[in-house]
Symmetry: C2
Subunit: 323 residues, 2 copies
């Protein structure tokens, strides 16, 4: 299968292993001036045959699936366009940076011509898969806490504008929201949130910190914190954490390791293997579903609205008809 | 000095070392049927001479300071009564379980006849003192996260009624609020919170989980989670955590250990010694101040109100005149 890609700003590396097996690529910029050169070099180095298209719309003709990860604010339009034409889309998360754009993607996806999967690759890591598999051992889940802490590093210029970036909640905290939703297996009900953009080292209006407090169905409570405060000298780029507390035990992950405390005491769990969710997506298997891709974007955008407005936001039945 | 104690439901063990040095105790029940027997046995075992009073008011005559830790809902009345008579009070936290009761304590304390210190002993532990001492090395504080997780165990019957217990936020989460306030050194501005009381194993209306999201002065964000979900087989009773993220580094504590990540990488810090804050209080030294004792109780009670009402609560200038 020939796989297309629009832009190369995001996590297209998740697709590499399967792409090598498929062997062929067609690439196009997603906005004026976006260079695809770096992507082309990496793909050719992996032995993937690369062609370039002038207009990204050309990819619909010959590609069995399209990877969309151009500038954040452009992804929704491109994704919706392909879905409308029956081309499966593997999109950067969030799949849209505004509720209006998300509605367009939702309509295109719910027309049912092709599936959509967002790049929630962190749900297929060894540590998360280990946490997930151990959940039945901790009874009823009551509270979940997720952390995303990154090095700031050097960010592209468009990270400094809300219109082109989207914000730290849709970009970073969304992974925490996704773990929580996947682990709890029930919908969110309400969210309160707060962000701060001070001391962002010249990155425009980009937030440096975010906190989300969520109420879920059945009284499950959850929190997500995200920040760009991880020191450059830290031993890794990201400091992902997850803690799931249930009626019979607590499971926790940090530094890619997983610890379980239950009626037998505390111990570390052996890790499961990474799962190739892009391959699963191409084969119509599990991976990330269309509904999850849309729903997690919706929750992240409402959490951002909760932070912007300083008010609790309902996350109810509204979702499937928010337009 | 003769030290009095009303009730023995709380953390009077913090006073033991200094009490031994002072050598004398006068004990009284704080509510009908409260037995002081267990406390008397422990004190005598430590070589402290014990006398019993029929009425707790009798302690004002001969005691240089009074420890107040009877049933939660009774502490405020007793504390205010002693403060009004110029007797220094070392009180269980929260110093009151309602804003009305807190106002009575505040008026008595602000009359200035005697100091008040709440039992924020967890601020004088080796790990917290180590975190505090390392704070100047992480630049400007931007985000703080605190965790309190306890074994449920067997709780007294009065934990099962909000009127006599007060709730998990004023009783447990308050320590997280205190660490955060002490570390950040600036006031709180707003709080959102949520609690849940399901699966509480027959403990009436007692909450099992709580989450607080706080905005502080200068855009510092903070969160506190508290739960009674720690398994009985866990290696310790409590799982206290604190993470302080600043512009130049991150300090973290878990399992009583402290880790610093900064421009030089990641490393564990040697622990400072425990501090006897009750001794400091008796000698008019540092320890916990009257204002901190009142303010942290105020913040905890407003956080509880935020959870009960499902709305953000302002925590502003209001404090010094909330009546």
């Amino acid at each position: 299968m020939r796989i297309g890609m629009v832009g190369c700003q995001g996590h297209w590396n998740y697709a590499l292993a399967e792409w090598q097996r498929q062997g062929e690529a067609l690439l196009a910029s997603g906005y004026e001036g976006e260079s695809m050169e770096r992507a082309r070099l990496v793909l050719e180095e992996k032995g993937i045959r690369c062609a370039m298209a002038e207009d990204w719309r050309a990819l619909a003709e010959s590609c069995g699936a399209v990877i969309v990860n151009t500038r954040f604010d452009r992804n929704a339009d491109v994704t919706a366009w392909f879905l409308e034409r029956g081309v499966p889309v593997y999109s950067e998360k969030p799949v849209a940076t505004t509720l209006e754009d998300l509605d367009r993607v939702r309509r295109a996806a719910f027309a049912g011509k092709a599936p959509l999967a967002a790049m929630f690759g962190l749900r297929f890591t060894p540590w998360y898969r280990t946490v997930k598999a151990a959940l039945p051992g901790i009874g009823g889940i009551r509270m979940i806490d997720a952390q995303k802490s990154y090095r700031l590093g050097k960010r592209p210029e468009y990270f400094g504008r809300r219109e082109t970036f989207g914000g730290i909640i849709p970009w970073v905290a969304i992974h925490g929201l996704d773990w929580i939703h996947d682990a709890a297996g029930v919908p969110f009900r309400r969210v309160a949130a707060a962000c701060d953009r001070q001391y962002n080292r010249g990155n425009g209006d980009m937030e440096m910190t975010a906190l989300c407090l969520l109420e879920m169905e059945d009284g499950i409570l959850a929190s997500v914190r995200a920040d760009y405060l991880r020191p450059e000298a830290a031993p890794s780029h990201g400091d992902d954490r997850l803690r799931v507390a249930g009626t019979e035990g607590v499971i926790e992950s940090r530094d890619g390791r997983v610890f379980l405390t239950d009626g037998k005491g505390q111990r570390e769990l052996p890790l499961k293997e990474e799962e190739d969710h892009f391959a699963a997506f191409l084969r119509g298997g599990q991976g990330v579903t269309t509904e999850e891709s849309l729903y997690m974007t919706y929750v992240a955008l409402k959490a951002r609205e909760a932070a912007d407005s300083g008010a609790w936001m309902d996350l109810g039945e509204e979702f499937f008809g928010f337009a």
